[in-house]
């Protein structure tokens, strides 16, 4: 059996900053404002259901799923809608959202109707993949094919981030129960929880439950991007997901640990997704794992960690490999926000660019077996047909190529933009 994938990198993980910090519930005051974005997932943004001046309850649905690939949005607080407008977003720059002034900070979310069919309940609760991809979970739970294995992704391979790790230790049982619910509902034979071997405490925690529940814990080698779905499936099962296809093609679905916890909370307790754990780390006085209401401004998270150490130069939302750099901290936490990382100038790598010296490091590092150095040339000269021929669409945008490049070529940046152009070509061809 193949165990592990080709390529990958071993960055400095920096997880010790927060690995031992239990998830701490962030507290809120009356009159504080949270800004809940209407688009926190891949697919169509939700349709707003409230108007200005309207009173909303914590857990109330304020955005309705629009289309199949979309999901609901709930208010994370009880309060008054003060305005509906454009919020800053790390992904798209601006996104429509609802600003709510908190009236009762202690309110806990109102329950959703749990009498519904499983998938509808998940949609009702607004659950999305919380590992970063934010794919609406109810869609993933409606596979058109027979699934034989459910893999729970506890790899958390991004450096700095520890929110999943803490969740695995502190909410072990909920995660397992959430996974069991999926397994039972979809009649999946096998359940495997996969954790990178740099998280021994998490592995121990899961192992304690092995007898009560029927599942397997798999310790994976620590290598980025072990948590990439295709890499994970290859490492755990030795199965290769075909290019352009979803894991279900090989009879697998993958869910993140935080997603399982959210799913458990929805099914067992009727709770919609209104909060998540976020690792706030880097150049802050006291790095922490925080339990945060969706819509909380990033600046509040930083304050909760005692503020900056030194002068912030770059703030990354998400992990340092695939996250987005934010131009402001006036930006709400969304369902996708796994981390807030503050870098000072001295923490950032030198980006002094030279010509490509054809060292081949990017080729060795690419976990998808691509040839980034040559693809870069096609991207620069806008030869998108060639880029397609070299399978740029197979790029998972993991950033390994850019990470290792001694010439500091912005490789993955080219592929992100290149892929969009290439998609257009593919669409044109299909229309012919």
């Amino acid at each position: 059996m193949t165990n592990g994938f080709i390529g990958g990198i071993h960055p400095d993980y920096k997880k010790t900053l927060t690995a031992d910090k239990p998830i701490e519930k962030l507290s809120y005051e009356k009159d504080e404002i949270v800004s809940v974005p209407l688009s926190q997932h891949i697919g169509a943004p939700a349709q707003e259901l409230v108007k200005k001046k309207e009173q909303v309850l914590c857990g109330q649905k304020i955005g309705a799923s629009k289309g199949f690939i979309s999901t609901n949005i709930h208010s994370s607080v009880t309060g008054e809608v003060v305005s509906i407008g454009n919020l800053n977003s790390p992904l798209t720059g601006k996104v429509k959202g609802i600003n709510i002034k908190i009236s009762n900070p202690e309110d806990s979310p109102k329950q959703i109707d749990t009498g519904k069919k499983f998938q509808d309940l998940i949609l009702e609760a607004g659950i999305v993949g919380m590992g970063g991809a934010t794919f609406p979970t109810h869609v993933k739970l409606s596979p058109p094919k027979k699934i034989d294995t459910l893999i729970i992704n506890g790899a958390e391979c991004e450096p700095f981030l520890t929110c999943d790790y803490r969740l695995m230790i502190e909410s072990t049982e909920e995660i397992i129960k959430g996974a069991k619910i999926i397994q039972d509902e979809l009649k999946i034979e096998k359940l495997i929880i996969a954790v990178e071997d740099n998280k021994p405490e998490a592995i121990k925690a899961f192992n304690k439950y092995i007898h009560g529940f029927n599942f397997e814990v798999k310790a994976l080698p620590t290598v980025y991007p072990q948590g990439g779905e295709k890499q994970l499936i290859l490492s755990v099962l030795g199965r290769i997901v075909p290019e352009g296809k979803l894991p279900l093609e090989v009879g697998v679905i993958v869910h993140n640990v935080a997603t399982c916890k959210a799913l458990y909370d929805a099914v067992e307790n009727g709770l919609p997704l209104t909060e998540r754990a976020v690792t706030v780390t880097g150049a802050v006085k006291e790095p922490k794992n925080l339990l945060v209401k969706i819509g909380t401004p990033v600046s509040k998270l930083i304050d909760a960690c005692g503020g900056y150490v030194g002068e912030p130069e770059k703030i990354v939302i998400g992990g340092p490999m695939m996250g987005f750099s934010a131009n402001t901290t006036d930006m709400p936490v969304s369902k996708a926000t796994s981390g807030v990382i503050v870098f000072r100038k001295e923490d950032l790598p030198s980006l002094k660019m030279t010509n490509c010296i054809r060292c081949g490091r990017c080729v060795s590092a690419c976990p998808m077996g691509l040839v980034p150095a040559i693809m870069e040339q096609f991207a620069i000269s806008e030869l998108y047909e060639r880029l397609l021929d070299w399978h740029v669409l197979n790029c998972i945008e993991c950033g390994c190529c850019s990470y290792v490049c001694p010439a500091r070529r912005p490789l993955v940046g080219y592929f992100k933009t290149g892929k969009r152009q290439v998609m257009n070509i593919v669409k044109e061809r299909e229309n012919k």
Partner: protein
């Protein structure tokens, strides 16, 4: 607030610490054993050649970049690598003007006209070596006898043919090799005539292993190069022992080790994929063997590598590894 000028860039936000200049520096470190041996055997001649080549090469690089209005990028260390490799490809007692011309050819013709670092299809030091070899064959093949500095400070320019050239000459004039080269163990250490950087196989192997250990180069080119070379040379020697030097001498003399570990592995001018590198290495090995055994020149390494350099774009173009779960072409 200071946040107004937060830096926004594409991910990833962290990078490996290795940068171009460090890679080049590592190549230089790897060359130190060979440099040391050449200074040991050729003393002042060697020092002079290294110093002059470095001065001329860096000067041409800076001058050319200045003329083209580009940033002067001596700090990437790539010109320094070229300088040292060029010096190693020159006879120990090269006259200053030969070095000047060589430096010009290497940097200006071999590198900068193609666009500078990373853009040149041919190894600049080899371009210069072959150009000089064709234009000034006498100067380029006047070897002096190695004299360990601990024994003697007075270098007499007693000419000493390299084993390869001597064998070639005898073969051409007599149809077979007359000299008995069987006691050749000293060659391994560097006690032979030859270019500065060619003489000590052991020093070059050490340097090469360092580069592999440091992951600057991979084993693919050196191994496929040397293996394919031996696959031709060994049977030929077994069948025609009087027309061929022993594989041992072939392996450890001339530019083979320098070529296999430092010139063919020049990342800029070799294929980018491992599979491509093996094809390239085999091509170098076969061509080197064929030129040495059947060609007019005693030495084939430079020609072989330059010829294979020309095929690199083709190899890179056609040898695309299959990516994970690759779909049929749409």
């Amino acid at each position: 607030m200071s946040e107004n000028k937060l830096l926004v860039t594409f991910s990833p936000h962290i990078r490996d610490s290795v940068q171009t200049d460090k890679i080049m520096l590592n190549v230089i470190y790897a060359l130190i054993p060979a440099i040391a041996v050449s200074i040991y055997y050729f003393g002042f001649f060697a020092l002079k050649t290294y110093i002059l080549t470095i001065i001329f090469t860096l000067a041409f690089e800076a001058l050319f970049l200045k003329i083209r209005g580009r940033r002067i990028t001596l700090d990437d260390n790539s010109a320094l690598v070229t300088a040292i490799l060029l010096a190693m490809n020159l006879p120990p007692a090269s006259p200053w003007w030969l070095i000047l011309i060589g430096s010009f050819i290497a940097i200006v013709v071999g590198k900068q006209v193609f666009g500078g670092l990373g853009q040149n299809p041919f190894n600049p030091a080899l371009v210069a070596r072959v150009f000089l070899l064709i234009s000034w064959p006498a100067q380029m093949t006047s070897w002096i006898k190695p004299t360990p500095i601990i024994e003697n400070f007075n270098f007499d320019s007693v000419s000493a043919a390299t084993p390869l050239s001597q064998a070639k000459t005898e073969l051409i004039s007599n149809g077979k090799i007359l000299t008995d080269f069987s006691d050749a163990s000293a060659y391994f250490l560097g006690n032979i005539g030859g270019s500065l950087g060619e003489i000590s196989a052991i020093a070059l192997i050490l340097g090469g292993l360092y580069l592999i250990y440091k992951k600057i180069i991979s084993w693919h080119i050196p191994v496929s190069y040397l293996a394919s070379f031996l696959i031709i040379v060994i049977p030929y020697w077994l069948f025609f022992p009087d027309k061929s030097l022993s594989p041992f001498i072939h392996l450890f003399t001339g530019g083979l080790m320098l070529g296999a570990f430092f010139m063919a592995t020049d990342m800029v001018t070799s294929p980018i994929t491992k599979k491509g590198q093996i094809i390239f290495g085999v091509g170098c090995g076969v061509l080197t063997a064929v030129i040495r055994l059947f060609g007019g020149y005693p030495e084939g390494v430079s020609f072989a590598i330059l010829i294979m350099n020309a095929f690199v774009p083709l190899i890179d173009y056609y040898i695309r590894p299959e990516s994970l779960g690759e779909a049929e072409k749409v």
